[in-house]
Amino acid sequence: MTDQEITMEKKSIFTPFNIISAIIIIVGLVLTYLRFTKGLGAVTNLDDTNPWGIWIGFDLLTGVALAAGGYVTAAAVEIFGMKKYHSAVRPAILTGFLGYSLVVFALLYDVGRPWRLPYPFFISQGVTSVMFEVGACVALYLTVLFLEFSPAALEWLGLKKLRSLIVKLTIALTILGVVLSTLHQSSLGAMFLLAPSKLHPLWYSPYLPVFFFVSSIAAGLSMVLFEGTLAHRHFRHKMDEAHLAEHDNLAFGFGKAAALVLAGYFAIKIFGIALGNNWHYLSTPYGLWFMLEMLGFVLLPCFLFAIGTRDRNARLIRVSAFITVFGIFLNRINITLIAFNWQLPWDERYFPSWMEIGISVFVVTVGLLVYRFIVTKMPILYEHPDYKQEH
């Protein structure tokens, strides 16, 4: 490709990504109109026996788990002092902030009366509900993430005084972020404790909150690596020296951590089966599906991370990160949709409608577009020249 062609390609806004995104956005807007004029029934395959679908299983549960990179990375750097990963903090916080924002955005579609979402906080507090706690923590954590993200925006806007004021809050925000994340990541699992008669015994356990919390750490680590891989490919020109230099070291460090966390997660899942004496379920079709999730998407990436770290193979680590991310998605979908209502005959089970999928894709696309805007305009992948003195 000649230099002229490259420059011309760069200038055109009609890239394949932009065209596809535009179509998705238009379809999404139409579906939005349908959702709010005809109701959930017209747009989803939800029914009285299956009230939650992919908007909860994917957009909410998977979204929250994958956005965990924010608190994990911030904790590693600010609390545990691993300064060498400093360049990964802002991208991770951004992914977290966007992730949680998208969760709230998707919730506006799923919930019957989204304008009443403030009700649990201001009108009638259902404090016996695990979901109340999830809502409160997510709302507070979104604020924390916004504050943690804001210095980048403030640097872009040149508001130095406000920016340095917020930076002073970093450690407090980080600690609060870990507290809130522990609570809501585990509580998303705890929500399903209320339905032991509906969730398959291999997935239901009194340890559900612990499973969700531990897996969120692995999810966060993997998502940071995954997002870093994608950013490296598409936004390399935005990255500064530090970011590029640390790219592989980040993989080795986070890969090692992920190997350990996944090993622990695998172990406690086994302990969970032992606690419930549910071994006999392993030889059923659901048991095979469970073992696929555990062996293919927990144990396998655990070993791939370990080998990649040991042999300094960054590429293997990135592949493992992708597998882990998918495994988290699989786990959350299993708990909300596949292993849920497992005793019902197949004709009473749920499968998403194309319109539900359309809205989910729309939500993710909006997130990608906002991410692209922020990453190209604000000091996320590079350090703003005026503030280079930090660290």
Binding site: D48, E78, G81, V111, S129, M131, A190
Partner: protein, 349 residues
């Protein structure tokens, strides 16, 4: 609601002391005995004819939309139905029960003593009333449908086709009618008294009496007496309960207990995580400070060492220079003396 501290402490004391004097209507687990005079309904599956009068009455009393098929149409029994957005109660027919004729069972909200829906609702839209009904408040409902997830009996339905004002729909135990001293619509309509309304503790006594009087007729178990911690709507059956779609694997644990453990961890995390993390942060800071100080010390030592080396070198060089100078002077003196001697020798000849 407010409970004064004194009354609360009284309660705690009484809970420990009052077990002997407690009423017979105890919840399955622990100290909570529910509202003492709450009402309930007893359904006798051996009496139900499947006439659907109860369904019709419910529809009229609650002013629900007309159903797809009229209430006189008995072909609806050909498939298993459940409650939905316009149907608070349905009767299903069960053919393969082991009895010599079909058995009918009425499905509606069981008005649990410890409702899962109330525990689940994050806006407190469900309340167990003293009358016994589990009441739904549509004015705060956000429409999250967690109550539907939680209900072990799959009762609550949702108005999925309402765009802006969707509600959860379920049997109300005709609470407004109860407060007027009337019977629930279905109970009043039943022509064979398959439904008996009364105080829950009386219904249990009645049920036991029925079982005692007609031992071959009933399974010796009142469904709902202890299931999920006890329900206000209870059942008697001549065939195993699983045959009439009543799950016997739900256990007797009241729903709120399933999540109380996880919820109990919340204050623990809030109380301890900041301490732990703050402590780790301080340890990290201290380590960094020490590492920093050590590094600075090393640099200072290195500088001092190089300085010392340089000094030593300079001194050695100076000494060497001095020595060489002395030697050179010595040699020059020696040479001069030798030359002088030579000169002297030459002169002597």
């Amino acid at each position: 609601m407010t409970v004064s501290r004194r009354r609360f402490l009284e309660w705690v004391a009484a809970a420990g002391v009052g077990t002997a004097a407690a009423s017979s209507a105890k919840a399955a687990h622990g100290e909570f005995s529910g509202y003492p005079d709450s009402y309930g309904v007893l359904f006798d599956a051996t009496l139900c004819l499947g006439c659907r009068s109860c369904e019709k009455a419910c529809n009229e009393v609650n002013k629900l939309p007309a159903p797809g098929k009229p209430f006189t149409d008995l072909t609806v029994f050909d498939e298993k139905r459940r409650t939905d957005y316009r149907t608070f109660t349905v009767v299903n027919r069960y053919n393969d029960t082991g009895a010599d004729k079909p058995v009918y069972r009425k499905i509606q909200c069981n008005h649990c003593l410890e409702p899962a829906c109330a525990s689940a609702c994050f806006v407190g839209a469900f309340k167990k009333t003293p009358e016994g009904a589990v009441e739904y408040d549509a004015s705060v409902c956000v429409g999250c449908r967690y109550c539907i997830i939680a209900c072990p009996f799959n009762i609550p339905a949702y108005e999925y086709n309402e765009a802006l004002t969707p509600r959860v729909m379920k049997c109300t135990l005709c609470l407004p009618r109860l407060r007027e001293g009337k019977l629930p619509g279905c109970v009043e309509a039943c022509p064979v008294e398959a439904l008996t309304f009364g105080r829950r503790k009386d219904l249990i006594a009645i049920a036991h009496e029925k079982i005692r009087k007609y031992p071959g007729r009933y399974i010796d178990h009142i469904y709902g007496q202890h299931e999920m911690g006890g329900t206000s709507w209870m059942y008697l059956s001549g065939v195993p309960y699983t045959k009439i779609d009543l799950r016997t694997d739900l256990g007797t644990t009241p729903a709120p207990e399933f999540t109380s453990g996880a919820l109990a961890m919340v204050p623990m995390v809030i109380g301890l995580w900041p301490v732990l993390l703050g402590g780790i942060y301080k340890i990290t800071q201290r380590k960094e400070k020490i590492a920093d100080a050590e590094r600075r010390q090393e640099v200072a030592n290195a500088i001092a060492a190089t300085q010392g080396e340089a000094d030593a070198k300079a001194r050695a060089a100076a000494e060497k220079f001095q020595k060489e100078k002395e030697r050179a002077v010595d040699m020059a003196v020696k040479k001069a003396l030798a030359d002088a001697d030579k000169e002297k020798g030459k002169e002597g000849e």
